[in-house]
Every structure is written in structure tokens, then in C-alpha cells.
Symmetry: C2
Subunit: 202 residues, 2 copies
């Protein structure tokens, strides 16, 4: 098995997952700015030219971070990061998708529509980035209210993939300077806690 | 168990899933334009004011269409729409996310940033909608090439949630008039086939 990796948020979700699970997989580090995810060889593995990618020993591949993580969870069930029974799995997936759609994706779009790095990769619309940026305060306040029940992690009493998606969003938020307001104590409590985990630096 | 439904793409994913599974669940139909997903009662169930929502008999709730569908798959495993073993599950999730991120989400954003219905619900940026619209031809061509191996369904030989996500994207594409070019015969073959399924009208 081989894990195709790069210095980017999506592969980082898998790196955090691997660190939390204590799994080691041989890595192939690709250089994104050098275009290494768009070589003929890599495009033959993933026609979207995206990492992360998991290549199995028979040559078959799995793309998309959550598909990779869920596959690895099936091979290494403990500690469970997707949930141990149908209801817990549903709650974790609900929260994972909320973290993805309310935070990770909009923050990623802000970056894509406002940073020079992406200028030659898409038609940037700065007004869209600004509109998304203006929405983030309300989203942070919503999540803070949700966390006001004192639970330690996004989906409940234990760490899950929803926290990993949140950690990835938090990393992007820091990078593009959309900080969590200091007044949102419940959300900052969570953010401080996940930033202190060894997997933050994965 | 109760399924909170409305005339919108996300609840439609669950309706198609229920139809394909042959599952019947009591429905509560909410009127989106009348604001029924933002009543105090509904917000106490889902603070995001979004459908679909599944309410269990003990009052606990599951939001987010794929979380709901995966929970129902655990209760009603056959026919499997998420995959029967870890590798098939990974491939279906990979394709489901590709359908979501390459098609469903961008098409939804085009609608949100260009249709009057959404004018008072977000800061519309028409230039963003136009840029997304211009990208769709390339995405359709990519998927057509992927389907040129002749497989009947998005993730392989059998119908899965990846097709349901694709059907929802196709419905939006029709609604906002971003048609699949006639020259893309493999993609049109798939589109014709899924539109002919009884679940299309769910």
C-alpha cells in the first residue's frame, strides 16, 4: 500500500487520521507547485490530478480523503474514528459533513478565490471570497452555541473524523486569517484542545 | 421514525434512496418558501434549519442526507447502496464525493448565486455563478471519459449512492439549464438510464 501525499489540506486529513490511529503507510510526497500531481504517471492513477490517493498492492486506487480514511478504518478498527454502531456513525457523519460544508469548503473557497497561488488555476472572483469571509462570523457563532453543552469533541464525548475535518478547517482559517473570535469560549476551548494533540503536526 | 422532507435537492437524495430500498417512513412535508424549516419547533430539532432530517422514536435526530442514508442502510442492508465490503465501500464513497464536489455542489452554487429565489438568503455574486457555469463543460467531459469503459453506473457494475448524488446533480443541471452536451455519449447513456428509473420521480 502507498499513500500519495502533498503539503495541502486534503492529504493532511489523512495524515492526521493515520497519526490518531497509529498507522504507518509508505508515503510518496508529491510537489504540488512543481505540478507533480499532473504528471502522466499520476494522472493515470487519478485523472483529477488530486491527492490524497491510496494505491493498493494490486495497483487499484482510492481517491478522496474520507473514502481513504473509511477504508483504513475497516482495516484498523481501533480506536474507532467513524463510530462504533449505526447511530454513533450517523452522528459522526452528520457532524463531519457540517464541518465540511459549513467550514472547510467555504474556507477553502475563500483561499482559492483570493490567494495568488490559485490565480492561474481558476477564474478567481474576489467578491465571492469576500462574501464568504463575511459569513464566517455567523458560522463560528453557531458552532460555539452547539458546543455550549460542554462536550469535548465536535460529535460528542470522543475524538472522531469530525474533529479531523474541523482541524483542517481551523488550519485553513489560520492561514487565511479568519480567526475564531475570542468571545466564543466553547469553540476556542475545542480549538485549543485539538491544536495540542500530537496529530496536529502530522 | 419520521422523515422531515421538502421540495429541494437534498431531501430528494433521501427520497430516491428510500425508493431504491423500498423503505417507507412517515413523512413530514415542510414548505421551504413559507419558512417552515425556520420555525422555533424545527430549529430545536436542527439548528441549521435544514432538511432532510430523520427523527428517531426517542426524539434524537440525524441531519445531512448521506448520514441519514447510511443509517438507513445499516437498518436495511439490501440492496446495498453503499457497498458490500471495505473496497467496494471505498470506491463508492470516492465516486460519491466526486459527484458531490465536481457536480452537485458547484451546480448548487450556480443556482444559489443566480436565482431570484435565493436573493434574500445570501449575498449573490453573479460573476461567481458564471465562472462555475463555464467550468461545467470540462467536468462533464472528464466524467464522460471516465464512463467510456462502458460501465453502467457511476461507481461500477451496480447502482449506488454515487448514482443518487449524480441524479440530484443532473436534476439541478436541468433546472438551471446547464445541459450535458449531446456529444458526450457515455455520460448521456448513464443520464438516460437513471432518468428512466422509477426512483427518479421520488
Amino acid at each position: 500500500m502507498k499513500f500519495y501525499n502533498a503539503a495541502a489540506p486534503s492529504p493532511r486529513r489523512v495524515r492526521i487520521f493515520l497519526a490518531e490511529k497509529g498507522i504507518e503507510i509508505p508515503r510518496v510526497d508529491l510537489n504540488l507547485p512543481a505540478g507533480e500531481t499532473h504528471s502522466d504517471d499520476f494522472l493515470s492513477k487519478n485523472s483529477l490530478g488530486e491527492v490524497p490517493l491510496l494505491e493498493l498492492d494490486d495497483g487499484s486506487v482510492i481517491a478522496e480523503s474520507q473514502a481513504i480514511c473509511r477504508y483504513l478504518e475497516a482495516l484498523h478498527p481501533e480506536p474507532s474514528l467513524f463510530g462504533a454502531d449505526p447511530l454513533e456513525r450517523a452522528r459522526i457523519e452528520m457532524w463531519d459533513r457540517r464541518m465540511e460544508f459549513q467550514f472547510l469548503n467555504p474556507l477553502g473557497l475563500i483561499a482559492r478565490h483570493s490567494f495568488d497561488f490559485f490565480a492561474d488555476k481558476l477564474t478567481q472572483v474576489p467578491a465571492f471570497a469576500e462574501a464568504q469571509r463575511a459569513d464566517m462570523a455567523g458560522k463560528f457563532a453557531w458552532l460555539n452555541e452547539e458546543m455550549s453543552d460542554g462536550r469535548p469533541f465536535i460529535a460528542g464525548e470522543r475524538f472522531s473524523v469530525a474533529d479531523i475535518t474541523g482541524m483542517t478547517a481551523s488550519m485553513i482559517a489560520g492561514f487565511i486569517e479568519v480567526p475564531i473570535p475570542a468571545s466564543l469560549t466553547h469553540l476556542n476551548r475545542w480549538d485549543d484542545a485539538v491544536r495540542a494533540r500530537p496529530s496536529w503536526d502530522a
